[in-house]
């Protein structure tokens, strides 16, 4: 239960997110993977705050997560709105079929 453990935990979670992003074909699954990455960032913040040295500003450990969660939710709102609109019009949620825009 030390900082390195927490950091490696969040790093692993981050790499799961990347793995999910690269291998998932459904857009919502990719968004889900991104959720994982952002969650890894949260763990980092809290871990750093907990193990911060003497003069550190530990309040940030709580305030930064608030803003991260707020931003994530805003982004997810927009993302899902776009996906729902696209699904209604094009009936496609597979990222590999989104390739009309290419050189």
């Amino acid at each position: 239960m030390n900082l390195t453990a927490c950091l490696s935990l969040s790093a692993i979670l981050f790499s799961f997110g990347i793995f999910g992003l690269m291998t998932r074909r459904k857009i919502i699954a990719m968004l889900l993977a991104i959720e994982l990455m952002l969650n890894a960032a949260l763990i980092n913040c809290v871990a750093f705050a907990y193990y911060a040295p003497a003069g550190a500003d530990t309040d940030v450990g709580s305030i930064l997560p608030i803003f991260i969660v707020a931003i994530t939710s805003a982004e997810m709102a927009v993302a899902l709105a776009v996906i729902v609109a696209m699904y209604r019009k094009r009936k496609v949620i597979d990222i590999e079929r989104l390739e009309d825009l290419h050189d």
Partner: protein, 661 residues
Amino acid sequence: MIESSWMILLLPFISFIGGILFLHKQPKLAAGFSILCNGAAMVMALILAVGFLSSDDTGYHALAHTWSYDWFAITDTLTVSIGALLDPISIMMLVVITVISTLVHTYSIGYMENDASAGRFFPLLSFFVFSMLGLVIAPTLVQMFVFWELVGVSSYMLIGFWYHKPSAVAASKKAFIITRFADAFFLTGIILMATQFGSIGFDAINQGATAFSSMNTANPSFSLEGGAVQVFTALAAQEGSAGFLGLNLLSWATILIFIGGWGKSAMFPLHVWLPDAMEGPTPVSSIIHSATMVVAGIYLTARLFPVFAVAEYTLSVVEFTGAITALFAAIIACTQRDIKRILAFSTLSQLGYMMFSLGVADMEHTAGFTASMFHVFTHAFFKCLLFLSAGLIIHSVHSNDIALMGGLRKKLKGTYFVTLLAVCAIAGVPFLFSGFWSKEEIIMAAWSNGHQCSAIIGLLVGGLTAFYMGRYFFLIFHGEYRGDAHHLEHAHENKFMLFPMVLLAIPTIIAGYPMLTGHTFFNTVIPQATLPTHPDHSASWIMPVAIAMAIGGLLVAWLKYGRRAVSFDTPSTNIVYRCISNKFYIDECYIFVTKKIIFRCVAAPMKLCDDYIVDGIIHSSAAIMRGCAAVIRHWQNGQTHVYLGLMIIGLALLAWFGGAL
């Protein structure tokens, strides 16, 4: 009178400008105007000569610097100027040029009677005379080079005068390029002289050189002033140095300058343009390719004689080329069928004579120098006469080929008599004619100065000259007429053409006598009064041998060609004869060198290199760019996973480049 020498130079130029701009439509008017100008120039030249001869200041004649105009400055010490330097040989040349040009102008009126572009001919001829005069009175090497080029240009324009004839155009191009090739070396020589020896003026160079040479022979050196001092110090400085390829700097400079003369006077390897120059009208050949232009090389060597003498090998090079050319040209002349080509080769051989006679002389024994100048003087007249008569013959027989002539003495009596005089002069018939005296002087000078082999070659060439001139004379005037009978009736002698020939006959005879009267007209050129000027007649056997060779040559020619009819239809199978008549195939070698080697093996690969290598690199770089662009567009295929993948790889690259990890 000396001060107005620039008038002599200007008159032909006025006739050129006037003729070209205004009179090229009226040939008669142009002819009259140019004769007037050239005649005036002749008169002034003669007055100048007479004035010079009568002035009795003995010893070293003050070099008359009459006028000079500063053209442009190159370095602060070196300024190029145009001026006049009058001394015995330049005045002699002035007289020769103006006399011959006036006579040739009158001759051309007859010659160019029914030629449409005659209006263009006379101005061009005057332009040639102007540039030749400029060359002769040049006080500096650069001015000589300037007029040297102008002479080359005027010879190009005059040889190619009938520009619709492809052969004339090719001949003019050949002449210009070969002389230009020699001029490149001449220019290098001048620049070496100007930069390394500090002066380009003839008098400065000559005084410096004589002072340097006389320093060795332990008599008091002259008081030097102006450019001569630098020349003297420069000569002393580079004396010992081994220089480049074994020759020291002075011999390099002098040999390079001599190569300029080599090209212009058509010495052995660079002679190929002179026979082809016969494509031009005959008056052109008579003035340019017999009397004046081709002598420019000899005049240059004479002008720079003191420096050439000081340099180690230069004079021996001069002698060697002169002898070779004399012998080589004489042999070829014996086999030619075109009468103008025969005269051209005879000119070549006589030039060889003059050149090697300069070669044999040196600072102590200047006999060779005076003999060569004397031969230039005499040769100009009888060679011009021969060409004018050949022109008249061609005019009446309408062909150059000697096979279509014969037995013309009945129809062209005047020409017959005059040509006889000229042939005797050139063949060296003794005592009466000028040719004999000047040739004998040369051989005597060569022998007395210790150059035995050149003297023997001289004698041999004398015999050969007699033989081919005899062949020339008998084949044209004796025997039956072999040509088209129709031309024979109409053959007549135009009085405009005959009159100058008769006038020329006089100097061919009397030109020899100044030597007899012992007048030291020519000796006064070399500025050392103390040395013996008169050649010692030690070897008394030379005179009779020379006479024997001349008479023998003529006799053999008469036996072979004069007595019985000669048929030309069966070309002789003898290999040597065919080789000689084809001028030892030297023309073919030149064509091979230029076409095969220069155009195919040098210019063509350069063009290929330019198109494919230098240009290729630039075009290939553009092609590489297009290739990379294609790769990038291939990966831009719209797949989001590819984009995300590259972003993450980009992240890794950033970390790697950050270097801190």
